[in-house]
């Protein structure tokens, strides 16, 4: 089936550094998402992105977070600077555009971020 790829699978950084998480969504999908999951807990919505813009973001999407998808490249989540509480697994997801008939969400395998 359709695949969402995330790079890297694990990232270890020191607190205060910048980190960029990369996502390669399904090729014909136009809605992109980032979710945060702390070990074994709920999937927390961070942000969704469509047509080059942030459509909706949650309270967890702090000012230190930003997303973009330059043409033809990865959909990225940047955290600058990182904090200890940013340690989690970050999942990227994508969905087709056709609302009402096909809005399934496809997930990547996640990037485990460890902030030391």
């Amino acid at each position: 089936g359709p695949k969402v790829l995330q790079i890297p699978s694990h990232q270890i950084i020191d607190m205060g550094q910048m980190v960029t998480l990369n996502c390669d969504p399904v090729s014909n999908h136009l809605y992109f998402y980032w979710y945060k999951q702390i070990l074994g807990q709920q999937m927390e919505f961070l942000v969704n992105f469509y047509n080059g813009k942030v459509m909706e973001k949650s309270k967890l999407f702090k000012d230190q977070f930003s997303v973009e998808r330059p043409d033809g490249s990865y959909f990225t989540l940047k955290i600058q600077p990182t904090a200890l509480e940013d340690s989690a697994v970050y999942f990227c997801a994508s969905s087709p555009r056709d609302r009402g008939s096909n809005e399934r969400l496809f997930f990547g395998h996640g990037t485990k971020l460890s902030v030391l």
Binding site: M43, A93, L105, F107, H109, G110
Partner: protein, 108 residues
């Protein structure tokens, strides 16, 4: 507030028993999807079921949109079914909200 409530929070079954997982949501949901996650794994889409009843293999989902609820029935559970099952709904700008999940453990 919490838009998606799942019950039970955890469930232990013997192999071969059936499981019934519930999902209730407080907002108007235009779409609903059930996911499975193995510990430390990614989310796998099980069923996309905005309304009515859908089947795939040993899984059956029934969604009653007006009553804002959905169920996931797993028949003849197997040890490999162990993991966490999430219900997610779409609201707003095609945003998916997740419940806290039901942790299923199937024992021999």
């Amino acid at each position: 507030g919490q838009q998606v409530q799942q019950s039970p929070a955890s469930l232990v079954l013997q192999e071969g028993e059936n499981a019934e997982l519930q999902c209730n949501f407080s907002s108007t949901a235009t779409q609903l999807q059930w996911f499975y996650q193995r510990p430390g794994g990614s989310l796998v889409s099980l069923l996309y079921n905005p309304s009515g009843t859908k089947h795939t293999g040993r899984l059956t989902s029934t969604t009653v949109t007006k009553e804002r609820r959905s169920s996931l029935h797993i028949s003849s559970s197997q040890i490999t079914d162990s993991g966490t099952y999430f219900c997610a709904i779409i609201t707003g700008y095609q945003n998916f909200y997740f419940g806290k999940g039901t942790s299923l453990t199937v024992i021999p």
